[in-house]
Amino acid sequence: MNDLISLNHGSGGKLSRDLIEKVFAKKFSISEPLTDSAILINKGFTLAFTTDSYVVDPIFFPGGNIGKLAVCGTVNDLAVSGAVPKYLSASFIIEEGFPVNDLRTIAESMAAEALLAGVRIVTGDTKVVEKGKCDKLFITTSGIGLLDPDLEHISTAKRIKEGDKLIINGPIGNHAIAVLGAREKLNFNTPVVSDCASLNRLINNVLQQCNKIHFMRDVTRGGLATILNELSGMTRFGIMLNEDSIPVDEPVRGLCELLGFDPLYLANEGKILIAVGAGEETKVLNLLRSDPLGKESEIIGEIVPDKRSSVVLKTTIGGKRIVDLLSGQQLPRIC
């Protein structure tokens, strides 16, 4: 194969087949014959189905790359709905001139992550566009998961009650800062690594052993503040957050202090917010902490009665302020 992708790779002819077979199908272990759609038979299960596009800049960053992100993000979207992720599709829009070796690295990352998560990438598409028509590489992944109907409330928050405790599985803001640090245009070095990870096994473990899980959502663009506002908006309750309990790594905190960011609004790619009924929070916390992806889990707040459905932060010095839906910072193309 050539070193660089050319427009011919997107024409549908032999070069297209070469690209799909030698770079993608081989890595994803998709066997012959390659057909237009993948037929997947399951008996008597509700399907969860999601899709997401990934345009992160830069493509490679500490802790991952656009491919790993494309698998984790979609796996997590299925898992936080209570579903067991099974199958992904992967579509690639590639800019003319993109190095094939980079594509191989990205495909390898995707394969490795899919293996870790126990999902299969079963179908996909590639398109090549002229130089300048897309920024190096865009990926879209769709995912199907099998959902136990008893867990439908996890994403709709129907069972949220006053006194429910809110838990996060580790420090926030790492992904946003790692990506920001990798963009050469801003001049600093940071030891921060993206938290990008598939959380389905962690989540499944909790769901299997606990029966008071009332809500879950993954905390991506817009950060923790956005998810919490969505939750309080979906229910008729308010949220009281404890700033001291919210884990933030020191370099992330340092950068936020210097650049004026609020960690509550920074993007994550390996964090989930869980609402658990009072009485079961310690069990959930211990389960999470026994997993490498949850070892720094903390109880960060609780559901409270509040006519205005506000998210209120008790600050580190004991003051109180509202955490609004609106983000403080918009970091573009962070995922």
């Binding site: 030891p191 921060v192 370099p251 210097l258 004026g260």
Partner: protein, 72 residues
């Protein structure tokens, strides 16, 4: 606009230092500081160290807070 933050000098190369703010490393111009040494804490603002943090004064302030019990 950047805010100012206390940062620790990690290394010095002529009139530029590498400073650490909680682990994030920045370059800082030392043109406004005299006798900067590795280990000193400085106020970092817009790419410059604008002042050394006076450790004695900092400790005095903390001590003063702790003595407030007697006043109240």
């Amino acid at each position: 606009m950047c805010l100012s933050i206390p940062a620790r000098i990690m290394s010095i190369d002529g009139s530029t230092a590498e400073v650490s703010a909680g682990g994030a490393i920045f370059k800082a111009g030392l043109q406004m500081i005299e006798n900067a040494r590795v280990g000193d804490y400085v106020l970092l603002h817009a790419g410059f160290a604008i002042q050394k943090i006076d450790e004695k004064e900092a400790l005095k302030a903390i001590k003063l807070f702790e003595e407030i019990d007697e006043i109240i």
